[in-house]
């Protein structure tokens, strides 16, 4: 399957899973909203230019927003993580030229620890910005702090599950092409 097709299918699947499964779950606690959809932005290939990455993040978030009737909320958060992503990858990538030899960020291409840090940093960033925008409408500081921490914990668990269930085998590509 070509990368474009693969990412288009992922685009649709992530939105459907978020809207029809995760948002439909009976609420456990007011601090916990299970988010997984932003993993799509984290899985986008290295080869995308930064402009394209930011735009894809914006468009992806906006599509989800029209389902939840909050136009702009998830779009703003996704744009932020898509913009910050290249910086975080630049800091964390351990092997020289891994972003040329592999297609997308994963455990295989980046290694366990850097990939975990990468997911953690972007998850916290995404949730903090999202809850900050919600917090401006209502709630207090405890709400903000509690929701960021609790939602991040749940999201990380979901990401771990997804990574284990759908293990992405990545072939090493030499850069002679």
């Amino acid at each position: 399957m070509s990368e474009l097709l693969k990412n288009t299918v992922r685009f649709i699947l992530f939105i459907l899973v978020q809207v029809f499964i995760l948002f439909k779950m009976p609420p456990l606690h007011r601090f916990i909203t299970p988010y997984l959809y932003y993993l799509y932005v984290l899985w986008l290939p290295f080869s995308l230019s930064r402009t394209a990455l930011t735009f894809v993040g914006f468009f992806f978030g906006l599509c989800l927003d029209y389902f939840t009737k909050t136009p702009g909320l998830h779009a703003a958060a996704c744009t932020l993580i898509a913009y910050v992503r290249p910086f975080v990858i630049g800091l964390l990538i351990s092997q020289e030229g891994a972003d040329k030899n592999y297609i997308a960020p994963s455990i295989v291409s980046m290694g366990w620890a850097p990939y975990a840090t990468y997911v953690l940093v972007l998850t916290v960033l995404h949730h903090a910005y999202l809850v900050l925008l919600e917090w401006m409408n209502f709630g207090n500081f405890m709400y903000f702090l509690g929701k960021v921490i609790a939602s991040t914990a749940v999201s990380l668990m979901l990401v771990l599950l997804t990574e284990m269930l759908f293990f992405r085998k990545q072939k090493f590509r030499t850069n002679t092409i």
Partner: protein, 284 residues
């Protein structure tokens, strides 16, 4: 001028990011204030269709609960039939004069339309429902929406075949309500804590309130007819800083199992609002 272009070219990524952020935030704040956003009509139509597909499947799993709640509602309505009310003395027989209602349609104040719920959330801080009845089928903004057990919310946005309903579980939703026992009115709104409870404010401490008291809508609210069920008082919290209680109310509607709702069209509202507006202008 050349420097400006050079600056834009050098920081293109950052500027592009800023532009997208501003677009996203302006969408968000516009929507929070006026419930309008770019492409919302088109998107409501599209997401509505996808939601409908999903609901067609999910609906079967809820059939039993839906049926139960409709039977309960039928029971309540049958209990209200005029044949059920008859005093033993024939001199004082209670007769409901329905002629006015039948011939003079102008007396009809509320028109009720049924609608199927195709999408519904309860876990977010701002919850909306999508119903499969839109502009072409007579739904307009600012109509009340009630379920089989109690009130649900109000219509905020309409596309051709679908409508978006702001649920009672939304931080902006307000409705005037009264206690059944003593007709004391207050405002009901959601505090965002649990989808089963809403709060009622402005009930003075001099009023006797007990847990289990019924809370109903009043005719003051332009959205709903009087005496629709909202919920029952479950906890009474005295607000130490003021002379009022904060009542915690268990909603009559179970929002997570909602399948059918009724949209209420207040046919006399336009006239009422025109009068109120002109009065306001006269006084100024």
């Amino acid at each position: 001028m050349r420097n400006v272009f050079l600056f834009i070219r050098r920081h293109f990524n950052f500027l592009f990011f800023l532009v997208l952020q501003i677009v996203a935030l302006s969408f968000l704040f516009r929507f929070n204030k006026f419930h309008q956003a770019a492409f919302l009509n088109v998107s409501t139509e599209i997401t509505g269709r996808i939601n409908e597909r999903y609901n067609n499947v999910e609906y079967y799993f809820q059939l039993k609960k839906t049926n139960e709640s409709l039977v309960q509602e039928n029971l309540r309505l049958r209990q209200m039939l005029k044949e059920n009310y008859e005093s033993p003395d024939s001199n004082h027989r209670l007769i409901h004069d329905t002629i006015r209602g039948d011939t003079g349609r102008s007396f009809l104040k509320y028109k009720i339309m049924e609608a199927k719920v195709v999408s519904n959330t309860t876990s977010l801080p701002d919850n909306y429902l999508t119903i499969h009845r839109g502009f072409d089928q007579g739904v307009r903004s600012n109509m009340g929406v009630t379920g089989p057990q109690g009130i649900v919310g109000s219509v905020v946005n309409v596309s051709r075949n679908f409508a978006t309903v702001q649920s009672m579980l939304h931080y902006q939703f307000r409705v005037v309500a009264k206690l059944k026992n003593n007709n004391e009115t207050g405002t009901v709104q959601w505090d965002g804590l649990s989808p089963q409870y809403v709060t009622m404010k402005n009930i003075p401490k001099s009023i006797k309130v007990e847990a289990g008291d019924t809370v109903l809508t009043t005719q003051i609210s332009s959205l709903f007819p009087a005496n629709l069920m909202i919920g029952t008082v479950s906890e009474i919290v005295p607000d130490n800083s003021s002379n009022f209680y904060i009542l915690k109310i268990r909603t009559a509607t179970n929002f997570s199992t909602l399948e059918y709702v009724y949209v209420i069209d207040n046919l006399q509202y336009d006239e009422q609002r025109r009068l109120e507006d002109s009065t306001r202008k006269k006084i100024q």
